[in-house]
Subunit: 358 residues, 2 copies
Amino acid sequence: MLGAMQLAGNARPGDAVGNRSRRSSGRPTLADVASRAGVGTITVSRALRDPERVSSELRERIDAAITALGYVLNPNARALASARADVIGVLIPSLTNNVFAEVLRGIHDGLGDSALQIQFGNTHYSADEEERLLRVFLGQRPSALIVSGIDQLPATRRLLETAGCPVVQIMETGPNPIDMMVGFSHFDGGQQATEHMLQIGCRRIGFLGARMDPRSQRRLAGYRAAFRATGVFDELLVTTTPSPSSVSMGAYLFRQAISKAPGLDGVVCNNDDLALGVLFECNRQGISVPDRICIAGYNDLEMMAVAYPSLTSIRTPRYEVGRQAIAMIRAALAGDRPEQVIVDLGFELKVRESTTRQ
Amino acid sequence: MLGAMQLAGNARPGDAVGNRSRRSSGRPTLADVASRAGVGTITVSRALRDPERVSSELRERIDAAITALGYVLNPNARALASARADVIGVLIPSLTNNVFAEVLRGIHDGLGDSALQIQFGNTHYSADEEERLLRVFLGQRPSALIVSGIDQLPATRRLLETAGCPVVQIMETGPNPIDMMVGFSHFDGGQQATEHMLQIGCRRIGFLGARMDPRSQRRLAGYRAAFRATGVFDELLVTTTPSPSSVSMGAYLFRQAISKAPGLDGVVCNNDDLALGVLFECNRQGISVPDRICIAGYNDLEMMAVAYPSLTSIRTPRYEVGRQAIAMIRAALAGDRPEQVIVDLGFELKVRESTTRQ
DNA sequence: CAAAAAAATGGTAGCGCTACCAACATTTCT
DNA sequence: AGAAATGTTGGTAGCGCTACCATTTTTTTG
């Protein structure tokens, strides 16, 4: 087994680190670096955390010792001693969702060369699972927490409020932030897409929604609001399912919608996967897009602009949400908490061929 | 700031945990649980790790104390004391890639209710970044490591060999595993897709590839091999780019291919995004699929079956790779290392409308 | 130039847990 | 019956680091 190879592999002959006690990991420690550099352990610790506070001469000797020994700091020991881990806990509802994958990418990029690490948890769109994971995370005393949405359970909210670290709610904005917020309005997005369709002459606009998490619900609410102002609404126009979203689900929901809502001339979709499914189903049934059916998606994934016909969508700043969340956390950890604790990054309606009638 | 709220929030009045030293975190510790239950600390520790080894009477008293105090184990202290963290390091080349998102999902599901946590790193398809992240991970003495592919740098490989924990290379299989492997053959997949197209009568089959990481290279090699056996090959049929893959890149590469390789009658794509881009571009240019151009993708994402026409693809067991990797790790950690250290999960050619000519 | 302030460095005592050994209680064996 | 094996429990000494203070050195100030 590999287990046996560890000592053999790590014990460098001629090294200052000789025969240690059985409990030791065999790796060089801060004390090893200190004795090799001829300084106290605490000075090495300082040189690592805040090089400015150590004279340049000692700093050089310490750096040399670190590279000579191949020293790597033990984050567990640091976390234990300082009662604070350099970890940001991130709670995301789904992994297979492109949208959150891009948020995660933004988070990673925002970290840059900071020592912070990401620990992330997948809540599977379950508030209970979110609370369970949060408790696990809090046990590690994270430096900061990022949670998705604004609909935490009351108990979860209390946990977050007393977490003792910066907390950022992402993907949405709302009135009562736990601490900070970065997102955009899903209601407005749903409304704007629908208004656009009404404007180009659609009258019987359906709404297709899968999963129907709180953000989807708000998009649907925006859709309804657009009708209140302008059009004639009919409950049969709304077709939703609690099942997860997918391209095939888009095709399925469209088939349902078209059979129960006669005269349908457009669909606003919960997200881009559904919209793509609708497009394929229209192609398959020989329904012309946009002449007979207009289509709008949500999120503006990369494929939307390439599709034929290209698909109208609401461009959401997913990557930017991740970056901004980290920027706010880093500012807060550095001591200068942003005075703007609710950041609305907005969205943009991208009008394309699927809603362009001449 | 929230920092100030922590003590206020966590100090439950009337709690056994009273005025602790300033350094303490304020949370109940193992010792608090032990004294409340009237047992030694080590017994609580055992009750937590291996309940079977503690009498049922003490176990109940300990459980009661844990819930009464709201005790949460400090993983950093555990990791420090046992020189081993309950963490599995996962190194993945991309986050925005659906394929790896599903592997990650499989990994998470495979974990089930075990105490293991995932720490994952994004290598951005860079071997140097992979090595850097690996060093960071090794500093935490993970319980196991999962790395993508089989093309690690020699130094990275050495680090993994001496990591002293189970290591699983995923997504590919090959001759010299560092420790264990779960994957499938990309060469065979590329070859099989190409052979299928030759079989249905295509003669001038192009290969479109983006990113061209090692796995893509092997798919391309399989494509070439298929020609060696049957068809007449022409280097102009291959169109690749080091840029990341995307649907628009598929459309772009197809435009290139069709202009430089006259008589093109089919394309084998590196992955499904490219294939979808090709389909859209064909639609846009009025090129009939499959009558004039046949299309095959790779991975068989969910949308492939729904597209119109539906798209042929190689179904790869991504989710299963993640699950299997964890299963092997759990077995190894439990002491019974699987005797089958290289697991080939295979793939399946899904023939659909885009390569069906009557 | 002495006194005060600031900067640089070190010693020591934990952080909360587990490895290791020891002690005792209980069962099984000869 | 006593001896040996097994099971259960606890004490103690760290794991590798940082907080807190003490000490020494350097700089600034009146």
